[in-house]
């Protein structure tokens, strides 16, 4: 008597969770605490902000100083205390990221290690693509809610402390995402270190910003009369001063002319005067002028008469990502997949085989949830790896899996970070031949957790690839059943699965090794052993 267990996605309803996101930026560390309810809605509980000098350190000395590191430790220890007060003790409920100032510091690894050992908070220094993706996640709801943003191409801009982000969305699809290494704090530091006289300071500012805008205009030349949506603390502050009734929530429209007037006024004040007049935190006072000037010049460059100001931040993106509601995440997945398809076509892949293997992978991933226990996010990465597993053929069919890896690793896909791209590349690499080994280059650079993820996903890809050995898409659906120590695959479409079974025998090695289970293909029509 064999008891069969149907394998399906885990659908246990999730209760209310308290989660937190920490964002280690160039001039401050911020934390947002929120509750995520059963249907995935995010309810903010509180937010904290503390000034730190990460950007100043990185951009003047190239690395983060000890004093600044210890200040970050102190701040994070205090934040952790607040988390304890909310009963957030589980590391899974805290997502901590660091942006450009940490990413660009020469002692990034030492800094992150110190933070981890002193606070237990595992900070992820995310790359620019990841920042773009999170920003996109944060503003996605607005793009459907606000009519003005639906009608025209939407250009989303955030002038941060360390860099300026630009996302272009046309017909609800992201068509461009870029990050420019020009931020308000960088500008301020530049003026500070060169001891520019007040008169020439403005001139230096304008020409630096202009250089960035020229570069932007070159990359996004095609966009016509876009609707600007501007994010960031500086523009939010400007809005609060220009429009007293402005409240959180709805994005507000601001005329560029008025913003320019206000920006001119701000640029006339020294930082000390701003502190006095507006009671701003010091880092905010330092970046306000350069940031507003950048926004005004950018708006003019793209010929915008008005712009929308939204209150969303990177942290909203992180929270949405942590919430169970995957609606916006799905939108991103679509984008990722669309990008991967474009990439595949560029390398002239066998599209029908690629898509077929990818969909088999997705099906296997879902059905084997209880076995692999991976976050749904990896489903997309597996899917993309499946789409791209044979792109290496464009270079040579010999060792094409290795070529695939390099091609994927050196490509950019909106929505996936470079680390995620590395994982995708490795899954593709291990779709055939040698089993992953720690001595392999690239693979060896991954953490153990990530190596296991690559193994698990590559094992599924091998199975799916075997099921389409003939490149004829003979099996489009399979059912997985767990039986004893085996996974039994059945398909109703195939009366003679010999070829596939042979292929599977050839390729189930990794699966057996990773999951400790044999995998068998049975034809539904007649059971034969």
């Amino acid at each position: 008597m064999t008891e069969s267990i149907r394998i399906g996605a885990d659908t246990t309803p999730v209760g209310i969770r308290t989660v937190a996101v920490i964002d280690i930026g160039s001039s401050s560390i911020r934390m947002a605490i929120a509750q995520i309810d059963g249907v995935g809605c995010v309810h903010p509980l509180e937010s904290l902000q503390r000034a730190v000098k990460l950007g100043e350190d990185t951009w003047t000395n190239g690395s983060i100083g000890n004093e600044t590191t210890e200040e970050c430790v102190r701040v994070l220890l205090q934040f952790r205390r607040v988390l304890l007060e909310y009963g957030v003790t589980d590391g899974d409920r805290v997502r901590a990221i660091a942006t450009s100032a940490v990413r660009e510091a020469s002692n990034k690894a030492a800094f992150l290690d110190r933070i981890y050992s002193a606070t237990g908070i595992d900070v992820d220094a995310i790359d620019e693509m990841e920042v773009n993706r999170l920003t996109y996640l944060a503003v996605m709801p607005l793009l459907t809610e606000v009519a003005a943003l639906r009608k025209k191409p939407a250009l989303i801009v955030e002038v941060g402390a360390g860099s300026t982000e630009l996302l272009l969305i046309e017909d609800a699809v992201m068509t461009y995402a870029g990050t420019y290494r020009l931020g308000a704090l960088r500008l301020y530091e530049m003026l500070e270190t060169h001891h520019t006289s007040p008169g020439s300071a403005l001139h230096v500012l304008i020409s630096s910003i202009q250089r960035m805008l020229d570069e932007m205009r070159r990359t996004v030349h095609s966009v016509d009369d876009p609707q600007l949506l501007v994010l960031g603390g500086d523009i939010r502050f400007a809005l609060s001063q220009m429009d007293k009734e402005a409240d959180r929530g709805e994005p507000r429209e601001v005329s560029v002319k008025e913003l320019e007037k206000f920006s001119d006024e701000i640029l006339n004040y020294s930082v000390d005067e701003l502190l006095q007049k507006y009671h701003l935190p010091v880092p905010d006072a330092e970046t306000l002028g350069p940031a507003l000037l950048s926004i005004v010049m950018l708006a003019k460059t793209f010929g915008a008469k008005s712009l929308y100001v939204a209150t969303q931040t990177l942290r909203d993106g992180l929270l949405i990502e942590m919430s169970e509601a995957r609606t916006w995440e799905e939108r991103i997945q679509e984008q990722v997949i669309k990008g991967a398809m474009d990439l595949g076509r560029k390398y002239r892949f066998d599209e029908s085989h690629a898509v077929h293997v990818a969909s088999l992978c997705a099906s296997l991933f879902d059905q084997l949830q209880a076995v692999h226990r991976l976050d749904p996010r990896y489903r997309t990465m597996l899917y993309v790896a499946a789409l791209l597993h044979e792109v290496g053929n464009v270079i040579s069919t010999r060792s094409h899996h290795k070529h695939s890896m390099y091609l994927v690793m050196n490509s950019e896909l909106f929505g996936l970070s470079s680390r995620e791209m590395k994982i995708v590349a490795l899954i593709a690499r291990y779709h055939r031949r040698a089993m992953p080994r720690a001595t392999h280059e690239v693979y060896g650079t991954l953490t153990r957790d990530h190596r296991i993820i690559v193994n698990k996903l590559a094992a599924i890809l091998r199975v799916a690839d075997a099921l389409d050995r003939a490149h004829q898409q003979r099996i489009s659906t399979v059912q997985c059943v767990l039986e004893d120590e085996s996974v039994i695959l059945t398909s109703q479409e195939l009366d003679n699965p010999t070829l596939e079974r042979m292929a599977l025998k050839d390729k189930d090695d990794l699966f057996q090794q990773v999951y400790g289970m044999r995998i068998e293909l049975r034809s539904h029509m007649k059971v034969n052993f």
Partner: protein
């Protein structure tokens, strides 16, 4: 803008003196029960002590430093001191006239008699001599004064006796000794007499037997005196990185700063007085020679004598008006609706219960609490310790700079720390004056935050005599911002921009001015606009200017300001639409309530802040909007009641004097505190009977 040469603002010191005068008028009022009049007199005296230490002390320091900067009323520090000195001398004369001509004789008529040394019977003389030898002589040490050693250190605000002895043979130098009357001694020594309360003052006993200290010498003169020193030493926090240690230094420093007042019995000889003023460096204008006992704050003890209840106010015990059920969980009840409590007409218990229940409640994760002034054995502090012991995250912001409460606060802070609470000793350079408590509770449907906001201290004893507001709520928006507010004062986060609440020293002044100007704009546009505010003090020139602008726009501004008011009301072209009244009655008016009609939306707030420059710039204060309709209505009702007062209300006139508001014509006799008590009692009765109707207790039927 103002008419004539009158300055736009009143001087705050003179305005404060006018307030103390209003308190003194209560002591003079024959309609006030006798022992309460004694208490009012005692209050004017201790008020003056603090005024001399802090305000006169501060101004003297300015004069000494050569500062000549004028105050908003156009007076230099020395001009202010001159005016203050004239007013305080007048006031002291009236205090003693009140004591001598009214209170003492009337007390005697009711059996509370001060016996002067001359009136003592032989038996009593003997009794006192024995008392002196047993109780005073062993603990009191006269300090001989020797030219070469200089004058001994005289303790601030304590009673002393100066004794002048006959010079030694062959010398003409006076021989002087100072006898400190130790604080441990009771001021009043009761005589063994049945059926009445006859007493002698301790300094009289010391003088009576003073020669015992100087055996074999001739005592020429023996006079009690008392000095007041400048207390206003600013704590230079940047020079004292350890705040706690810095505070203790201030406590020590208080014993040895400059003398700003010398009080002495009127019958002192010129010789002795000259010697004292010279040695202590006291100006003639700072000498207060009084005809009666020094330090009338001793009357407080007499005012609280047991057995004379017919000479006190009838008790107005606090009631349960809000209907908060003492049996059911306070959290469940707050979840149903917010509660607004008017103390002292309503019980303070629910506030204490919130913290006590939180300490025991399993779902509570964290408690955050600001403590400014608490009672000696505070149940709130006990509950916080209990909570820390029970593993809750307890954060307490203890304000060490609460004037004259420092020692007690330091002690409590250390005790809390020992129990594992996180104690934060305020923010550098700012006094934490906001009153709020936040309880974080994990409930099945998520984290919920319960809060208490108050206008008064977490002190259940003063809550019985101060009129204050409590607001108990679990409103989500308030919760979000209050959490951020706590993080800000704990130093965990930069100050944010608040949307619902507002805090000093961040945006409170701007917000208030915005609200006041908003009324002016609405009035000009023909919308409904008016302002009502109740507070303790109005000093800040920027806020006063905004109120003038509102008046000029035609906005009716009604203000109930118990104490200092630097705004000059009723001046045509400047402030003719502003009226200011002050209420001094049995309860100390302490709540701050602000109301802006705002075109009909009736924005209503409670606050910990007075509209004083120091509160808005150097204190952590809170402004809390009351959106709850029932709470708003109660606040408005109480505000209106104060403006209808024709018994205890005094109206501020354009010349800075106050006159009593009288009933007459359409104005009925109404005493606001009485009215508020009656209304509260009526509601409590109705609520009680409603409860009884709902829950008929089950009684077993009697057999047969």
């Amino acid at each position: 803008m103002s008419t004539g040469d009158e300055p736009r603002y009143f001087n705050r010191e003179l305005s404060w003196l006018a307030f103390n005068q209003r308190v003194l008028e209560e002591a003079l009022d024959p309609d006030v029960p006798l022992l309460e009049r004694l208490k009012f007199l005692a209050i004017t005296s201790s008020n003056l002590d603090e005024f001399f230490m802090v305000r006169v002390g501060g101004l003297s320091a300015l004069v000494e430093a050569g500062r000549r900067k004028k105050d908003p009323a156009g007076l230099t520090p020395s001009a202010q001191l001159k005016k203050i000195s004239r007013r305080t001398h007048e006031m002291v004369a009236r205090q003693y006239a009140c004591y001598r001509d009214a209170l003492e004789p009337q007390c005697a008529a009711h059996g509370i008699t001060r016996v002067s040394p001359e009136e003592l019977t032989k038996d009593h003389h003997q009794y006192l001599e024995q008392f002196f030898m047993e109780q005073i002589y062993p603990v009191v040490t006269p300090m001989g004064i020797h030219k070469e050693q200089g004058f001994p250190l005289i303790k601030d605000l304590s009673l002393h006796v100066i004794a002048r002895l006959k010079p030694e043979a062959g010398s003409s130098d006076p021989r002087i000794a100072v006898i400190p009357i130790e604080l441990g001694l009771d001021r009043v020594v009761r005589l063994p007499l049945p059926n009445q309360y006859a007493y002698v003052l301790v300094e009289d006993v010391v003088c009576l037997f003073c020669d015992r200290f100087f055996a074999g010498q001739t005592l020429l003169e023996c006079v009690p005196f008392r000095i007041t020193r400048n207390a206003d030493l600013s704590v230079r926090e940047d020079e004292a990185p350890d705040l706690l240690a810095g505070m203790q230094e201030v406590l020590d420093a208080r014993k040895s700063s400059d003398c700003v007042r010398l009080e002495i019995a009127e019958d002192v000889t010129r010789k002795t007085l000259q010697l004292l003023t010279r040695e202590l460096g006291v100006a003639d204008s700072a000498v207060y020679a009084v005809d009666g006992p020094l330090d009338l704050s001793a009357c407080m003890a007499l005012g609280s004598l047991e057995g004379f209840e017919e000479l006190t106010y009838e008790p107005w015990p606090p009631r349960n008006v809000s209907g908060i059920d003492p049996v059911h969980s306070i959290f469940d009840q707050m979840k149903q609706k917010p509660f607004l409590l008017l103390h002292p007409y309503e019980e303070f218990d629910p506030v204490v219960r919130l913290v006590e229940e939180a300490a025991e409640d399993e779902s509570v994760i964290a408690i955050k609490q600001i403590l400014y002034r608490t009672s000696r054995r505070s149940p709130i502090v006990a509950a916080l310790m209990n909570a820390a012991r029970n593993g809750k995250y307890v954060t307490v912001i203890v304000e060490l700079k609460a004037r004259f409460d420092e020692a007690r606060n330091i002690e409590q802070a250390r005790a809390l720390e020992r129990e594992g609470a996180q104690v934060i000793y305020g923010i550098r350079g700012l006094k934490t004056h906001a009153k709020c408590c936040l309880v974080l509770r994990r409930e099945p449907d998520g984290i919920r935050r319960y809060m208490h906001f108050g206008t008064g201290n977490y002190n259940e004893s003063t809550a019985r005599i101060y009129s204050d507001i409590s607001y108990l709520t679990c409103d989500e928006d308030l919760g979000n911002e209050t959490a951020v507010f706590f993080n800000t004062i704990a130093g965990f986060s930069e100050p944010p921009r608040f949307r619902v609440i507002e805090a000093a020293p961040l945006g409170l002044r701007d917000r208030l001015i915005e609200l006041i100007d908003g009324e002016a704009v609405r009035k000009k546009q023909g919308q409904q606009a008016s302002i009502m505010a109740k507070l303790n003090s109005l000093v800040d020139p920027a806020i006063i200017d905004a109120l003038y602008r509102a008046s000029q726009a035609g906005v009716k501004v009604r203000m109930n300001i118990r104490g200092i008011c630097c705004l000059r009301p009723g001046v045509p072209g400047l402030s003719e639409n502003i009226s200011v009244t002050s209420i001094v009655d049995r309860f100390l008016e302490h709540s701050r309530i602000f109301f802006f009609l705002h075109g009909g939306s009736e924005l209503t707030f409670i606050s910990s802040a007075d509209w004083m420059t120091r509160n808005l710039d150097r204190r952590i204060e809170l402004l809390i909007p009351i959106h709850d309709r029932a709470g708003k209505r109660r606040l408005l009702e109480s505000l209106e009641t104060y403006f209808k007062d024709t018994v205890k209300a005094r109206r501020l006139l354009p010349d800075g004097t106050y006159e009593k508001v009288r009933a007459g014509g359409r104005k009925k006799r109404l005493r606001s505190q009485e009215e508020l008590y009656e209304v509260a009692a009526g509601r409590a009765r109705r609520a009680e009977s409603a409860r009884q109707k709902m829950f008929e207790p089950h009684r077993p039927q009697e057999a047969g």
